[in-house]
Amino acid sequence: MINDYIRDNKCSESIKRLLALLPPDLLEAVEKVLTYSKPNPPTLKLLAETALDLKIKTGKNPLDEKFHELASSSGIKDAVDKLRELRFEKITSINTDLKKQISGLGLKNINIKFDTNLEESFIELSSRIYSPEDLNAVKEELASLIEGKGLDKIFKTYNDGK
């Protein structure tokens, strides 16, 4: 089944290599996901690498019945997000703090979602934002540091809610 998925979705070499690394129990679980969901290749990749990392870390298969229940009821993307929160416990906790901090500024429509490409910025922000002015100051600084990559996501919502 996984080979059909790889062929039909023209998966990249790195996805093929990643899937080849999966131990039998994880591969079986990923194939089970494909029976009730149609993840696109980036989502499948995130699922496979997160599951593999957790398996190496804990020795247990994280794609258990609970995972399948969530994935089939709420969708595979949400289930993968939950899985990544387990994989990145410390970072998730920092993100949660940051969200609280920003919501405490009294701004509306701020929505920060778990995104590995923005994690560095989040962690940096969490220690420096205490007011709406701080948020603007940090915006400029970060934009110059990382050439604005992905920052629009955060600051567009900030400006919209201003």
Binding site: K55, K90, I91, E119, E124
Partner: protein
């Protein structure tokens, strides 16, 4: 497992000398690499050479005369500028006896060019040839250091930490410059004490006045390297399950707060021995501005 066979020779049709590639958006240290060969007999789990299939064999460039010609014209272009040049980017500088003669000739270049500092970076103990010739501080013998527990788990077939430190002591005592590279640093909380102890062990042994610089670099990897590590070493690579963040240059690193914590702890310990030039490899201004062991002298060195 021995993956490497006897070195073969090939012609280098490209350049021998290049600016150290560093990484986009990171502070460069004005370092240049010179490559008389490519490939390494050691088997470090994290080495980027591992994912270049063609680099799993060691190739020595047969046209070393071209390399020296290029070196002369490069130094002419540098005029009097201090120039740091090293052979350890795509190979271990000293591990191969086949390179002893070339290494000796490269070292002699410091007589001709007083502004040239040439570095031979290694994880080996092969310094006998150097100990038989006159030394100067612009010939820098350097060692990559990691705690013995990391050497045991991740640096197969290399010399022990104690052997490396003993060699660094011999090199310094003989009059060579010595450099130390704490790279990659595995920034797991349980290892911090081992890194501090490594600093103590090293700096209480090696003559401090001969240490030209110390670099630090947190473990970082590309997606490609991670796959390669898992493929080569199986699914026991628990170091890869720490929390890493994808940075703007595409490499995964430990979170910024963790890097700052390690760099400051290790850097401060180094500075407690002497005012040794200490810098970070492949880190950007976002990290540098949180570093409190830094001094202006280091930044001056970096921007030379």
């Amino acid at each position: 497992m021995i993956r490497y066979s006897k070195p073969t020779t090939t012609v280098n049709k490209g350049k021998f000398i290049r600016p150290c590639p560093c990484s986009p958006g990171r502070l460069r240290c004005s370092y240049y690499t010179i490559s008389p060969a490519v490939g390494c007999p050691f088997d470090c789990s994290y080495c980027f050479l591992n994912f270049y299939e063609e680099n799993r064999d060691i190739k020595i460039y047969s046209n070393s005369d071209d390399m020296f010609k290029e070196l002369h014209s490069f130094m002419a272009s540098r005029k009097d500028l201090p120039t740091r040049l090293g052979t350890g980017e795509f190979m271990d500088s000293l591990a191969l006896k086949e390179l002893d003669e070339i290494n000796s000739k490269l070292a002699q270049m410091t007589d001709k060019y007083p502004n040239l500092i040439i570095e031979f970076k290694t994880k080996s103990t092969r310094i006998d040839a150097f100990l038989e010739r006159p030394a100067n501080r612009n010939i820098v013998l350097s060692w990559s250091l990691n705690p013995q527990s990391v050497i045991d788990s991740d640096e197969a077939r290399t010399s022990s930490l104690k052997e490396r430190i003993d060699c660094a002591k011999k090199a310094g005592t003989h009059g060579y410059g010595v450099a130390l590279h704490l790279d990659p640093i595995f920034m797991e909380d349980s290892l911090l004490e081992e890194y501090l102890s490594l600093v103590d062990q090293t700096l209480s042994t090696v003559p401090l006045k001969n240490i030209r610089w110390i670099s630090m670099g947190g473990f970082r990897y590309t997606e490609e390297l991670k796959l390669s590590m898992l493929e080569r070493t199986g699914l026991k690579r628990t170091r890869l399950t720490a929390e890493f963040i994808k940075c703007s240059d595409g490499k995964y690193r430990y979170p910024r707060y963790q890097r700052v914590k390690f760099y400051n702890a290790i850097g401060s310990r180094i500075k407690s021995y002497a005012d040794i030039n200490t810098y970070m490899c492949m880190e950007g201004p976002d990290i540098w501005r949180h570093i409190h062991f830094d001094d202006k002298k280091v930044l001056a060195l970096l921007h030379t």
